[in-house]
Amino acid sequence: MTTIPAHDNENAGAANWERYRHQPHWRNNQDEYDAAKFGMWLFLSTELLLFSGMFVAYTIFRIMHTETWGNASHHYLDWRIGAINTVVLLISSWTMVMAIRSAQVNHQRALRFHLVVTILCGLFFLGAKVGFEYLPKLAKGEVPGSAFDYIGSHGYVPSDYDPLFLGLYWVATAIHGSHVLIGVGLLTWCLLRAGKKHFGPKHFTALENVGLFWHLVDLIWIFLFPLLYLVG
């Protein structure tokens, strides 16, 4: 991921991605590309381990308080919002792959279009989560800790470990949401660079790495959705 040296622009009519040259300490572009992707996979494994903390806590608390987990998730969480968000994220993963593909075959307009759709899907995901889930829950006092102020409705009496389930829900989805936000930021950066034709068949390292990050965010949600919303 490097910025193109300014002085290269004017002497060649070709787009920026053709004139990209690897950094001085590498031997050729291919080595640099492989190293960048290998580095990105290492970073993705650190992100996975970050979320593994959440999944371990989920498993432990599910085993220790099985009955709370049984009815709490159905009561507090609406599976429809979760399902819509899952579909949105899967589609955004598909448009991300199409964006990388169009860069590889030098369809610059298609690249920009797919990037925009991916960004919109990300923003929709965040909007749905905050609008339909976080704000109503805050209003009803369905929050962990001593701020828990929910007294149950339609015959449901909260069990002692409901605040714990809500704590897990809030932490897992909030950290995942922050990663979606970071992803949208990175995609916007890629969109700007795509506008300046930085990505093409010979150079799309940054785009592919941001794509990998976006797929990881989708991958985490693929596991979070059933565990929190469906199975409970």
């Binding site: 993705l44 792959v97 701020a147 149950g152 991958l219």
Partner: protein, 161 residues
């Protein structure tokens, strides 16, 4: 070394998306319609989620056509997370194996505090049943911030064992 990146065909990727969406529909269907008990539901949901994850990692993230080393990185990471999960679960579940006393835990007083507050400001009558006439949830917003330390910190003595 020419850049011999494998460029996936658009059709193939659309098929993968289709598979993913059907798997999502399947998991929602099984969760709502079929009830195999808590453990059964969990296993079904995890299997479908693992299948979807394999699709995303294998094809969307290009791991299938990449050199083997990136796959190794993912594998080591899953092994590390798996070890963490395995031993922590063994500990948490086998706590009362030798001496049943060690498995006894006292529940936190949070819900009781919430119920007492509700009774105090009239949303519940004195023995905790919802007040009937205008039973819509006009719950006031959460307290100012989460750092209110009013709740008594020591888990009091109502031990249920």
């Amino acid at each position: 070394m020419a850049h011999e990146h494998h460029i996936p065909s658009a059709r193939f990727m659309t098929i993968i998306l289709g598979l993913l969406l059907t798997a999502t529909a399947l998991t929602v269907y099984t969760a709502l319609k079929i009830d195999l008990g808590q453990v059964g539901n969990l296993i079904i949901a995890l299997l479908i989620a693992a299948f979807k994850a394999a699709l995303v990692v294998g094809f969307f993230m290009h791991l299938h056509w990449d050199n083997r080393f990136n796959a190794c990185v993912l594998l080591y990471c899953l092994i590390a997370a798996g070890t963490f999960l395995l031993f922590t679960t063994i500990d948490m579940t086998s706590r009362g194996a030798v001496d049943p006393w060690r498995a006894v835990t006292t529940p936190p007083p949070l819900v009781d505090n919430a119920r007492e507050r509700a009774i105090a400001d009239g949303r519940l009558d004195e023995h905790g049943n919802p007040v009937d006439e205008h039973a819509e949830d006009h719950g006031h917003s959460a307290e100012s911030d989460g750092t209110d330390h009013g709740a008594d910190h020591g888990a009091d003595e109502n031990v249920s064992h």
